[in-house]
């Protein structure tokens, strides 16, 4: 790696850190400004509300509270839940939730990417045939219809009507109860990957080096697997960024529908309950994931596409 690349990376890291700090500050202020309280204020007298606030340090000025929170973050203490799961440490809640959500995200991504690639390759090879049309239809649906609609349809038809899969996620039976939510989440992945793979496949098949390989006498199979596939699949990594981001937002509602106790579900419940620490930690984690993904994808462009890399070197 040359010096200019290193400088570029360091600069990006610094910008990312500053971005995250600003995000955290804005989140903190916004959450504390929400109307309502995590406590059952309807039934408490003013003096009792004061005691509850003091217990958690909520009576201190916002700047002091923020300072305390930052200090806690360094030692891994993200506070406790005030409402959803009384006095349980947010780090413990999130630990469980992250495991589940990440697992779902990774499986949905892998599954969706594989199926999407398959569809895209087939569509690219059999351009303008029925396969191509089918893939296009699936892609358009998958991209335009939100994942929670798929979740509802899946739960209703596959789970309830046909009773193929259980309706709700359960830790007792994690594999079979994960099928419906993962299917729903992977729809947008399949759609995006299929569309992109098809385009890449077509452009590669029409490219000059493919014509050269054909002229050299290479047969169909080697042609497709060694050259066309490899060259059209690698760029798919570049769209994984937006795909992962889509997944992150998609999980929120899908988790509610299928009863998955993941990160999205935790965040939504936290917002409804005014549970400051839970909302802050979850929202901030989403921000961190987004910033990291964008950062990695931006960097990877340079490595993956030799045209860009070589171009920089000049």
């Amino acid at each position: 790696m040359d010096k200019s690349m290193l400088k570029y990376i360091l600069k990006r890291v610094l910008i990312s850190l500053i971005t995250l700090f600003i995000i955290l500050t804005v989140l903190f202020i916004m959450i504390k400004s929400l109307p309502g309280s995590p406590f059952n204020i309807e039934k408490m007298s003013d003096a009792q509300i004061a005691v509850a606030n003091a217990k958690y340090g909520l009576d201190k000025p916002m700047l002091v509270q923020y300072g305390m929170y930052l200090k806690g973050m360094i030692t891994g203490d993200y506070g406790v839940s005030y409402n959803l799961y009384k006095d349980v440490e947010v780090s413990a809640l999130m630990g469980n939730a992250i495991q589940i959500s990440f697992m779902f995200g990774i499986v949905a991504t892998i599954f969706g990417t594989l199926i999407g690639m398959l569809l895209g390759v087939v569509a690219g090879l059999k351009k303008n045939t029925i396969w191509d049309t089918l893939t296009t239809i699936i892609s358009v649906l998958g991209v335009s219809v939100p994942s929670f609609v798929f979740a509802l349809l899946a739960v209703y038809f596959l789970g309830y009507k046909l009773q193929l899969f259980p309706l709700q996620y359960s830790t007792r039976d994690p594999i079979s109860t994960s099928v419906l939510p993962i299917l729903a989440l992977s729809m947008s992945v399949i759609a995006n990957v299929a569309r992109f793979t098809r385009t890449e496949m077509i452009s590669v098949l029409n490219s000059e080096y493919m014509t050269l390989a054909k002229a050299k006498g290479l047969d169909g199979k080697t042609l497709i697997f060694k050259h066309a596939l490899r060259n059209s699949l690698i760029p798919v990594i570049t769209i994984l960024g937006p795909i992962l981001v889509n997944l992150m937002t998609g999980t929120m509602v899908v988790e509610q529908i299928c009863g998955v106790p993941g990160l999205g579900s935790l965040l939504i419940k936290g917002i409804a309950a005014n549970d400051y620490n839970v909302v802050l930690a979850c929202a901030f984690l989403y921000a961190v994931m987004y910033v990291v993904i964008v950062f990695i994808i931006d960097l990877s462009y340079g490595f993956i596409d030799p045209r860009i890399r070589l171009g920089k070197g000049d």
């Binding site: 929400l34 109307p35 309502g36 309280s37 406590f39 059952n40 204020i41 309807e42 039934k43 408490m44 007298s45 003096a47 009792q48 004061a50 005691v51 509850a52 003091a54 217990k55 409402n83 959803l84 799961y85 009384k86 006095d87 349980v88 440490e89 413990a92 809640l93 469980n96 939730a97 594989l114 199926i115 398959l118 390759v121 087939v122 090879l125 059999k126 209703y156 789970g159 309830y160 009773q163 193929l164 899969f165 259980p166 309706l167 709700q168 359960s170 830790t171 007792r172 039976d173 594999i175 079979s176 109860t177 099928v179 299917l183 529908i257 009863g259 106790p261 935790l266 409804a272 005014n274």
Partner: protein, 533 residues
């Protein structure tokens, strides 16, 4: 190409195979699955603040008194009790065979420890020890941070005798003992596992109730229990396994039909669909929905205006045609089915609310004349995430709109904002509800106490205030009952608010089971759940 097709086919086949594993896990014994919409917030009885938690805790811990499946209080951990009217002292005799499931006895110290723990830690439900609840000596002061927790008027005279001194008479004291706040905790156990780790897993819970916790992870969607063989009344428990799951309403109904759940609450929109189903189950929920009038508003200060607004509401219509879920038209502020004396409902014979549009218009016109105006504008505030308040608000807007000379505007916002607005005096009329804390009329009457102003309506009435004060110190049950009836009369004839509806709970319950205890106040009781013979 063939290879690709083969791979695609293989992927699909794999998915199908995985799916075949789906289905219900089978147990040998009798199992009942109950569902709530939200998971419990905590299984620690000193920390819990919500109904789901209270119910989950009551399955494995018992208090001095508990309710049976018919809603009657019975002595649970307390075998017997004595009440001295002069010194306002309860003396409870703890059952000899009441044990924790690690073999140790349940003692009076366990109660003192748990009660002090709540107050020492400044927990939210500490208010139940003060004059909003049990009125235990020094409870109010301790909950406001003015005194130390060990000054609480509860002492263990010996291992099996608990003495509780009250600051003022509390007619519903025994009913309160059924709440999680007043359950015991084994000090040695709690301190051994650590206060912050207590009740965060099956190993860190200790049971003295009908069931014990076998599966629980905070943040996950269910709590699973097995029958507790060391429970003092274990013979009466028929269930071998109990599961309390949290499921969203729509998925829950589907899960009920596929047999995954045995009990599912449904919203009023589904009543028509399931009304004739065997599984349809309506039960008293005790919530009273009413229109709150802000007494700082000039127009609402006029009694004729308030009377007109109340008379313009056809409550039977709302109950029977809008909600149709077994909810009852309100007859007073106190709901029907909440509180009884000698088997007679407190609201028996009450009929303070009626529907008469003509009379309403007459009163309204009279009110306008007294105010010296020809028309008034009022704003109706309601929450957009508090079903069925939105349905009630829509109905009220239509019904009250029929009054000539009244222009109604409306404003809606999430519950949190609505509550904030009410506390900040930023409302005129508001659709709101009150849930009873205990099975006594005072839980509703005290709402309109001018001093505490819990209703946020800024209601002022010296006669009413005097009555409330008398009720607070009266020890004779019959005299107190009559005083409360009088207070209800004063409140209703003053049209302090316009009660609309007593909400019923509607659910689907597996008709193969019976014996579930669901009441307007207090945790659910699964002790007596069994199969129908």
């Amino acid at each position: 190409m063939k290879k690709l097709k083969a791979i695609l086919a293989a992927c699909m086949a794999l998915t199908m195979l995985v799916g075949c594993g789906g289905g219900k896990t089978s147990t040998d014994g009798l199992k009942f699955t109950y569902t709530f919409e939200a998971p419990p917030k905590s299984l620690d009885s000193t920390v819990a603040t919500d109904g789901t938690s209270f119910t989950c805790i009551a399955a494995f811990v018992e208090g001095l008194m508990m309710k049976d499946e018919k809603g009657n209080l019975y002595p649970a951990i307390a075998e017997d009790y004595d009440f001295n009217e002069e010194t306002l002292t309860y003396t409870f005799k703890i059952r000899k065979d009441a044990k924790w499931d690690d073999g140790t006895d349940v003692t009076a110290h366990d109660f003192v420890y748990a009660w002090q723990r709540i107050l020492r830690n400044g927990e939210e439900y500490g208010y139940m020890f003060g004059n909003g609840g049990a009125n235990i000596l020094n409870g109010q002061e301790i909950s406001e941070g003015k005194m130390d927790a060990d000054k609480l008027g509860a002492t263990a005279l010996d291992d099996k005798t608990l003495e509780v001194k009250l600051a003022a008479p509390c007619g519903y004291f025994l009913d309160l003992m059924n709440f999680a706040v007043f359950y015991p905790q084994n000090q040695a156990f709690v301190e051994k596992v650590g206060e912050d780790k207590y009740a965060t897993s099956p190993e860190t819970t200790l049971a003295c109730g009908p069931f014990k916790v076998t599966e629980y992870v905070p943040g996950q969607n269910k709590v699973v229990y097995a029958k507790n063989e060391t429970y003092w009344d274990a013979d009466k428990v028929q269930l071998d396994e109990l599961e309390i799951s949290s499921v969203k309403a729509d998925s829950a109904t589907m899960g009920f039909e596929t047999g995954d759940y045995d009990f599912v609450n449904i919203g009023y929109e589904l009543v028509d669909k399931y009304k004739d189903n065997d599984a349809y189950y309506s039960y008293p929920a005790g919530y009273q929905y009413y229109l709150a009038f802000n007494f700082h508003n000039e127009a609402l200060q006029n009694i004729n205006i308030r009377k007109a607004l109340s008379l313009a509401l056809n409550r039977d219509d709302i109950a029977n045609n809008v909600l149709k879920d077994g909810s009852l038209a309100a007859v007073a502020l106190d709901p029907q089915g909440l509180s009884f004396k000698d088997g007679v409902d407190f609201t028996d014979g009450m009929n303070y609310l009626s529907y008469d549009l003509e009379e309403a218009q007459k009163c309204f016109d009279q009110g306008l004349k007294e105010l010296g105006v020809s028309s008034i504008t009022l704003e109706l505030l309601y929450g957009n995430d508090e079903a069925p308040c939105d349905a009630l608000a829509t109905y009220a807007l239509d019904a009250l709109g029929k009054l000539n000379g009244l222009t109604l505007t409306n404003r809606t916002e999430p519950k949190a904002s609505r509550l904030d607005d009410m506390t900040a005096d930023k409302f005129e009329i508001c659709v709101t509800r009150w849930g009873p804390d205990y099975a006594d009329p005072n839980t509703y009457l005290s709402l309109f106490d001018p001093v505490a102003n819990m209703s946020n309506t800024n209601y002022q009435n010296d006669t009413y205030k005097d009555l409330l004060n008398k009720i607070a110190v009266e020890t004779d049950v019959d005299v107190r009952w009559d005083l409360m009836k009088e207070a209800e009369k004063v409140l209703m004839e003053d049209y302090a608010c316009a009660p609309m509806l007593v909400k019923a709970g509607v659910a689907l319950m597996n008709p193969e089971f019976t014996g579930i205890g669901l009441y307007p106040t207090g945790p659910n009781c699964y002790k007596y759940v069994t199969k129908v013979k």
